[in-house]
């Protein structure tokens, strides 16, 4: 009975979210072209929340609480620092600069911007290809998160693959039915809804266990090491390298990077920038503390389940637990939709059209994009069944892959002497090296290369440094190509 109710609420809510997305599209009549090309017209609240929506993923709702449950509440510090502070600074340094440049020259994607600046279709395709590559594990992460969430909510009655398949089906439905349209304000509604229910959930659970002090006390009784800052998983190397790779990685995520081009005015970026640390904290504190407090609660987390649904099931009514999980999955569906949408615009604009078929009709292009998205989501689903790591591990891999793009892009944005060859070397070499590290862990018959060295330092951080050094070094050794034009990136017009 309860099981039927929970599942009914989850599936019903997903349909509702789908319907809202469709209605929103009909009402606003936003086409993909309009969304990306014509109307760089997103206001503060919507920009803030569409960017925020990227946080509304399995990485935050499920991965974060799981890690806090297993290793301690320091995850709040790591995520708060990287997302609330470091990302905000990059929001200015990369985002505002890209907005200024994009506004002058009408760019829509990162690859397009770099390809035009350096006069290179190859660089454009390379950047798009690299971005799509790392989008794959992040989409897969949503499917893993949904699978594990339903295991937790239903106490294992719904198998892992069932939850993963459910969200995959909804992702594809959302994209195919709504066409390739992003409706930013549905992200905003989802974001506000989730922010509210996460707080309601936290208050509910905390009052059930006797208040914040009692929750922390029980946590410390069960895991005394959770009280002191650092130690265990949280070495200095882990904290620093995770914070840096994820923050730089986030800026290069297709759906985030594309937001840098769509703000209505500089004012919008400014206001979002200042509000960002507080908004981030509002989401992370309740989500991650619930995970950490759960260590002191008499709950039994089944193998392969997420901790948050288990806690909610224990302390809140079944309908509320189901509602939170449903809201989380709907938010994951809609952020996956933005990711797939941005990914498909990278695919069609930077790969398909310039490289494969320059004369494709709009109609053909739209179909290529849809089929591409469906194939992408299905492949990610297949890969999610293999469960190659924890949610945090898979997410960090994706973020690190994107982070390797960041320093070459910053060089291009701020250093006129950057050359095409420098960019290609700075992007390609670290990517190949990191790909070798990641694949060696997945492929069985080769020895796994180390992911971290010297007590938690991520090799991706070293590869980031390499990407910067290669871009600068090779640029100094090569001459700017005739097709390149540094003035494309000038922002001061006088």
């Amino acid at each position: 009975m309860t099981l039927g109710l929970s599942l009914g609420i989850v599936v019903g809510y997903l349909f509702l979210a789908l319907a809202v997305g469709l209605v929103a599209y009909r009402v606003s009549e936003t086409t993909a072209e309009d969304y990306y090309l014509a109307s760089r017209s997103i206001g503060t609240v919507v920009l803030l929340f569409t960017t925020f929506a990227t946080l509304l993923s399995a990485f935050t709702f499920f991965g974060g609480p799981n890690l806090a449950f297993a290793a301690g509440p320091e995850w709040l510090i790591v995520m708060g620092t990287l997302d609330g502070v470091l990302f905000a600074v990059l929001w200015y340094a990369i985002g505002y600069k890209q907005w200024l440049i994009g506004n002058r020259n009408g760019y829509v994607t990162l690859g397009e911007m770099l390809g035009d600046r350096f006069g290179s279709t190859g660089l454009r395709a390379l950047v798009a290809g690299v971005s799509l590559l790392w989008l794959f594990p992040y989409v897969m992460l949503q499917q893993m998160g949904a699978g594990e969430a339903l295991v937790g909510l239903t106490n294992g009655v719904v198998p892992y693959w069932g939850g993963a398949a459910l969200i995959t089906a909804f992702m594809i439905l959302y994209v195919v039915l709504a066409g390739m349209r992003g409706v930013a304000w549905t992200d905003t509604i989802q974001g506000l809804f989730m922010l509210s229910v996460v707080w309601v959930a936290a208050v509910w659970v905390v009052s059930a266990v006797g208040g914040v002090g009692a929750a922390t006390g029980a946590m410390l009784d069960a895991r005394p090491d959770f009280g002191s800052f650092g130690g265990g998983t949280y070495s200095v190397g882990f904290i620093v390298s995770t914070a840096i790779t994820i923050a730089f990685g986030v800026t290069m995520f297709p759906q985030i990077n594309q937001r840098f081009f769509v703000a209505k005015s500089g004012e919008t970026l400014k206001r979002s920038f200042a509000l960002w640390p507080v908004l981030v904290l509002l989401l992370f504190v309740p989500a991650f503390m619930l995970g950490a407090w759960a260590a002191g609660m008499p709950v039994d987390v089944p193998e392969g389940a997420n901790v948050l649904p288990v806690v909610l099931n224990e302390y809140t009514p079944a309908w509320f637990a189901a509602l939170v999980i449903a809201g989380a999955m709907a938010a994951m569906m809609s952020s996956s939709d933005s990711m797939l949408l941005s990914g498909s615009s990278y695919f069609t604009r930077d790969l398909y059209r310039p490289v494969v078929n320059a004369d494709a009709s709009e109609r053909r292009e739209a179909w290529v994009a849809r089929i591409g998205v469906a194939a992408f989501a299905l492949l990610a689903f297949a890969a999610s069944l293999l469960r190659p790591g924890t949610l945090i591990e898979v997410g960090s891999t994706a973020f690190s892959g994107f982070a390797l793009l960041a320093l070459p892009v910053i060089c291009a944005l701020y250093w006129e002497r950057t050359t095409r060859t420098g960019m290609i070397a700075g992007v390609l070499v670290p990517q190949l090296a990191y790909l070798a590290v990641v694949l060696s862990a997945v492929v069985g018959f080769v020895p796994a290369l180390p992911r971290t060295v010297a007590g938690g330092w991520d090799v991706a951080l070293g590869l980031m440094a390499l990407s910067g050094l290669l871009t600068i070094g090779v640029s100094l050794l090569t001459a700017p190509s005739a097709e390149g034009d540094a003035s494309r990136f000038a922002v001061a017009g006088d």
Binding site: L76, I77, G84, V85, P277, A492
Partner: protein, 94 residues
């Protein structure tokens, strides 16, 4: 393009804000204050401080000057005017 010298202060300020969002001085400290480990309070207060300083940075004009623009000047006008196709000013190539 003029960049007042005091704007430079923002660079170390941002570096400090990022670096100490992690409560390094409380490494290994396990005191609980008002129901939460004290280092969580440090972090919460620090992010509040970040919001205050970020909004000051954005309003002071350093936001535009940092990109070589005049505050209230061309960057935002261009957005309002929407002449995205305007050619970039030349003459800045090395």
């Amino acid at each position: 393009m003029r960049r007042p010298r005091r704007d430079i202060v923002w660079i170390p300020t941002f570096a400090l804000l990022v670096a100490f969002a992690v409560p390094w001085p409380l490494w290994g400290v396990d005191r609980v204050v008002a129901g939460l480990p004290v280092w969580i309070w440090w972090h919460v207060a620090w992010l509040g401080l970040c919001t205050v300083l970020f909004s000051r940075f954005a309003r002071s004009g350093a936001w535009e000057r940092g990109m070589g623009l005049r505050p209230g000047g061309d960057g935002d006008d261009r957005a309002a005017g929407g002449d995205a196709g305007a050619p970039a000013a030349g003459g800045e190539r090395p």
